[in-house]
Structures are given as C-alpha cells and as structure tokens.
C-alpha cells in the first residue's frame, strides 16, 4: 500500500507540473507581438497548402523584411478548415485582419458585410489599372469591390502527345466535333481501359460549366437572376457529353478532380481540362503533353478562370487598412507577380507582364493567352446551394443513368427558388 501511495503522489505531482508547464508554454506561445510604436502586425489567413505554400511563404517573408513597420503573420490552413472557422472567428472578433479566398465564395461573405469595400483603394491606388480585368471583375459583388486578386488561373486543355500519336491524330482538337470524335478514337475498354478525356464533376475545378457555356447555355444568366440550366442549349450540351460518357465510354463517370489528374498522369486519359498548377506534376511524371486552348464550342469559345482574392476585415483600424493596402500593392507589383508566376505557374494578375519576363516558365505565357477568353464561375451569394447542393448532384445523377431533361429541369427549378 505504501509503495502505491508514493506512486500516486508522484503521478499527481507530475500531472500538476505537466499542466502548469503546458500552461506556461501556452502563455509564451500566445504572447504574439502587438501593434506598438507605429509597428503593425496583420494576421493573414489563407489555404495555400500544397506546392503553392512555399512560394507564398517566401514572398511574405520578403515583404516582412522590406517593410520593417509591418509584419504579416500568415496562417496557412486547409481550405476546409479555413471555411469552417472563418465566419465564426469573424463573428466572435478573433478573425484575421486579411484573408484570401476563392472569389466563387466571396459573395456569400460580402453579403454578411464582414469585408471592407475596396472601391476607394481601386481609385487611389495607381497600380490597380494594370490588373487583369477578368480577375478584378471576379472580386466585384453587386458593383462593389470586396477583394484584390491573389492569383489568376485560366483553364486549358492538356493533351497527351504520345497517346494522340498512337491513335494517329495529328494535333489537339480545334472545335467540338473534332473534340468528340478524337475522344471516341482515344478510348478503349479491355483489361486496362483508356479514356479519351478525364472529365471530373465533383471536388474539382469546374469543367462541366465550360461545356454548357460553349454551347450557348449555362447554369445561371450573367446577372445571376435566372436559372438557364433548363434552356435547350444547356440540355443539349449535357445530352451530347453524357451520351459520349455513358455509351462510348470516353470518360469515367462521376470522378473527382484528383482522380482525373491521376488518370492523365498515368497516361490512361488522353485529355484533361485543368489549371496551370498541374504542369509541375505531369512534367515530373515525364508525361509528354501539350497545352491547347479549350476547343471552340458551337456557340462560343470560352474557358473558365479561377481567381483567388484577398479581402480586409471590416473591423480593421485605419492603420491596419493602410498596412493591408501596402501589402496588396507589394503583392500585385510587377516583380512579385513575375516571381510568383514563374514558381507556381499561375498567370500574373497584371496584364503588363511580357512573355520575355516569364521565359523561365514559358507555359505561363500560354495560360496568359488562354485568359483572354476566360470568365470566372460566378453564382452569387447562393454559390454553395446552386453548385454543390444542386448542380453537381444533378450531373452525378445523369451520369448514373437518370434522364437528362427532367433531371436538369428539376435542378433548374431548385436553382430558381434560391435566386428568388
């Protein structure tokens, strides 16, 4: 008994010491530098995980070094976590001073007035006129600017030169009819099947909307007031492509973006519509690929561009806003953008960067070209309801065998009910 008493005592003491130690370390860790003597610290949240992270970190470090009065305290977290905690944090006053998010999501937040309108920044900041118009447009919600672009990524078509050569196809398709017939020629079943195209529909950069747009249809109209998903053009686009997938097996059904990338990388899919971030991986995997504009559609020639933008917390003090604007200027300065583009493959947010300045990464210039025919995927404040909760499940059902017309019609009604 005596022995065990000592043991228990020791254990208790260790426990208390441990807890006290933890609390002390915690206290130290939480004591972050506060604004004092003209020095401003800005907390900055974003989700630049993966290969983009190191470049973003290096640029922020450079800013901190060259701006002794401002410190950017950046937290990179997975986007899931970011979206889970951003709004509660902003609501409880522990949110970041600046943050970056996909402009698809921006209207849902702008509607709640958590971000500062930036119209005056755009007016008084000399450099903003050089920003790509498509990127700036993506940060505008009902005529008010809520963000400044961080990156800009038009989609292109990746095509596998080896597989094209094997199928005796000279080059990438230029229009839909070539695209479709090439996709069929490049597909075969058997022990280890091959697909003409890896076309993802969930957890992916949106590709299906491009097909709707190019056929003259879409999901919502340009002013985001009306659903056009049940329009004849939209229905015909989905009918044509879903038939090719189901009947001719040109693409696996219902795959994610990551699956599509794997298939292209393993050379089991001959084409994929994707953003500039994929180049590094495919080059490393020694895939012999080319980049081409998304083939011209029957009605339009258009691709999608993904834009991420920074915004300022509406509760920030004037001094913090000024510091944030200094950071925005740095980020979108020519030198920074060239550096960022060369390392990540993203297109510079400015239009005055020349191909010669990007020669270290010549693919960037191709994507920059593609950006001339690109629009962001904007669904307004109902983005999640329309895209994730209605449109994606509808296309999943169709590829699982549901009839196209009635499925799209009921999805369209649903979307219209969100739009009011």
């Amino acid at each position: 008994m005596k022995r065990s008493k000592h043991k228990a005592l020791r254990a208790t003491a260790a426990l208390i010491a441990g807890a006290a130690g933890a609390a002390m370390v915690g206290g130290l860790a939480s004591a972050s530098p506060k604004a004092s003597g003209g020095h401003i610290t800005l907390t900055y949240w974003n989700g630049f995980t993966g290969p983009d992270g190191p470049t973003v970190k290096a640029l922020v470090n450079e800013f901190n070094k060259t701006h002794p009065n401002i410190t950017i305290d950046m937290s990179i977290m997975p986007w899931d976590t970011f979206y889970t905690k951003l709004l509660p944090a902003l609501a409880s006053g522990s949110g970041p001073d600046i943050e970056a998010m996909d402009t698809q999501q921006l209207p849902q937040y702008a509607e709640k007035h958590v971000f500062l309108p930036l119209n005056s920044y755009y007016q008084h900041s000399p450099d903003t006129h050089a920003l790509a118009k498509g990127a700036v447009a993506a940060t505008r919600v009902n005529g008010t600017q809520y963000g400044v672009p961080v990156n800009y990524a038009p989609l292109m078509m990746y095509w596998n030169k080896t597989l094209f050569a094997k199928a005796h196809i000279a080059g990438p398709p230029k229009n839909w009819s070539q695209w479709m017939s090439d996709a069929v020629k490049l597909s075969h079943g058997g022990k280890s099947p091959q697909y003409g195209i890896a076309l993802a529909d969930n957890n992916t950069i949106p590709v299906w909307p491009i097909l709707l747009w190019e056929n003259g249809g879409g999901i919502v109209n340009s002013s985001i007031t009306k659903s056009v998903l049940a329009s004849p053009q939209s229905i015909s686009a989905v009918e044509q492509w879903s038939k090719l997938i189901i009947k001719d097996g040109i693409a696996p059904k219902n795959i994610t973006g990551a699956d599509a990338d794997s298939l292209f990388q393993a050379q089991k899919a001959a084409m994929e519509v994707n953003g500039p971030w994929a180049t590094t991986g495919y080059t490393q995997a020694k895939v012999n690929y080319g980049l081409a504009p998304v083939p011209a559609g029957p009605k339009r020639t258009l691709t999608l561009t993904d834009v991420t933008a920074m915004s300022i917390n509406a509760k920030d003090s004037a001094a913090k806003v000024k510091a944030a604007e200094t950071f925005f200027n740095f980020w979108n300065a020519k030198a920074t953008q060239i550096d960022y583009a060369v390392h990540t493959g993203f297109v510079p947010t400015r239009t005055d960067v020349t191909a010669a300045e990007l020669k270290k990464n010549p693919q960037v210039a191709l994507f920059e070209q593609a950006g001339h025919n690109a629009v962001p995927y904007q669904l307004g404040a109902n983005f999640t309801n329309i895209d994730t909760n209605t449109w994606t499940p509808a296309i999943e059902k169709i590829l699982d065998g549901a009839p196209v017309k009635s499925t799209l019609e009921s999805a369209s009604q649903q979307i219209q009910s969100y739009l009011g």
């Binding site: 022990k191 280890s192 099947p193 059904k253 219902n254 795959i255 794997s262 999943e396």
Partner: protein, 307 residues
Amino acid sequence: MATRTLKSRLWYPWATKQRRRRTRVAYLFMAPSLIVLGVFMFYPLVRAGWLSLTNYSFFGASRFIGLSNYGHLVHDPQFWRDLVNTLYYAGVVTPVSVALALGLALLLNRKGLPGRGLFRAAIFLPAVVSFAVSAIVFRFMFTPSIGFLTYWLGQIGIHVPDWLDSVSLAMPAVILVGIWKNVGFYMVIFIAGLQTIPKELYEAASIDGATRWRRFSNVTVPLLSNTTMFVTVIALIASLQAFDQIYVMTQGGPAFSTETLVMLIYRQGFTNFQMGYASAIAYVLMAIVLMLSLLQLKFFSKRVVRY
C-alpha cells in the same frame, strides 16, 4: 456458475450519516470531470439548443423563432433521405464491426499464438491512421483502371466496378472503410475485457468438466457482457454519427447517396451558414441516438452480471 463468487452490498441504507458522507465522497470523486464537462460540453450544448430555436447564421440579428426549425425539418426531404442513409450505414456497420471485433479478439487472445502482438498491432493499425490519409489511399485503390485494386484484379480478369463513383455502390464502399477503420479498435477493447476475466473461473469450469462451448457460454459470455454492452453502445453511437471518412471520401456524393445526418448538419451549418437549423437537426439526431442507446442499455442490463 459465475455467481459462485458474487455477493455484495456496497452501502448501508440504515445509516443516513454514512449515506451523506458517501454522497459527498462520490461527488468529490466526480468533481473534476463534472466541472470540465459542465464548462466545455454542457454549456455549449445548451447554447446549441438555444440556437436551434433561432435563425442564427453567424452575422446579422438572430431572431427567436420557436420551433419553426423543427417544423421545417419534418418537411425537409433532405432530412428524411439522410436519416435513411444514416440508419442504413449504422444498421450494417454496428453489428458487423462488433461481431468481427469479438471474433478477432477471441482469436488473438489465444496464449502461445506466434506473433500475437504483431497481429493485434496490424489489425489495430487502421485506427491509428488519419482519415485524410486513409481516404487518399482508398481512392487510390479504387481509381478506375489505375487503382492498384482495380488494376490487379483487372489483370486477372475480375472487373471491379467503380465503387466510390456509383450512386448504388458508394455506400457499401464507405461502409467497408468504416468497418476497416474501427474493427481493430473494438477488438482491443474486447481483448482488454477478456484479460480481466479472472482465470480461476475457467479453472473452476475445467474442474467441473465443462466443454469448451460451455466455458464460452457460461464464463466468457456473461463475464464479457459489460464489455460487449460498452462496445455495442459505442459502435452504434459512432456509426450514427458517421462523418469523417464519408466527408473525405465522397463528401456525401454521388448525388447525396452517402450523405449522413451529421454531414447534413455540417453542410447546413458550415457551408450554408444555417447554424440554427443545423442545431435543430443535431438535437433530433441526439434524441434518436439517445433513444436507441437507452434501448440497448435496457436490453443489456437484463443480461449483465453484477457483482
């Protein structure tokens, strides 16, 4: 047979002074837990309960709207669809995991089994791997034509359907991963339970000439009943709250075929910002779980051996 050793009275009802002291001791023992639970569980839980009566959505004024969230829920087809998915998931995962775990525990509790520790560790391993990583690995196994499962089975002529991407097969796939992830965890609990069965009971049974089957049904089953009850209740609660692997593997898709109630709560609360409505669904789910668990506890309490 087990009752041979049992008899006890723990407290003495004739002494109220004694009884008061005992109550004080009991509450002192529980004080640290109750304080922590009170501050970090019950307070937020009550707050969430309050939210379920409002239209709280993080920003802007939140208004008391009485039971309208609950009224809305009754007519929400998403709720019923996800309830069916949840019951489907739990209805398969709970019994299969518990039975498999018990079987494996009995197998691996055998003394003198070569490499016993390694086998246990191997089967426990999935519980240690994060869901994010398991999801990547499983997606990789099932990727059409290049996943290592689809590829190698394809090479020997077995066609593996594209499980995760099919409306009817995604749920079985998610169920499989749910069982894979937890069976080792439950097995370890069963092994710990088997370890605490006093050995002299088996000895006594052997002396009495009991057969293996009789030893199992007369010693192991009743003495393991506390553990079995625990595992079954925990497994049911966990499977009714299935979220993690579904979230990372299918996000509830394709076409909501794997969306469970907790996924719906997450979607309503964190992507649609309808925190009030999400809390209402959570309270209903809690009521369902509570009801099923109490039924289970009742079922078991008739069978549990008490000393």
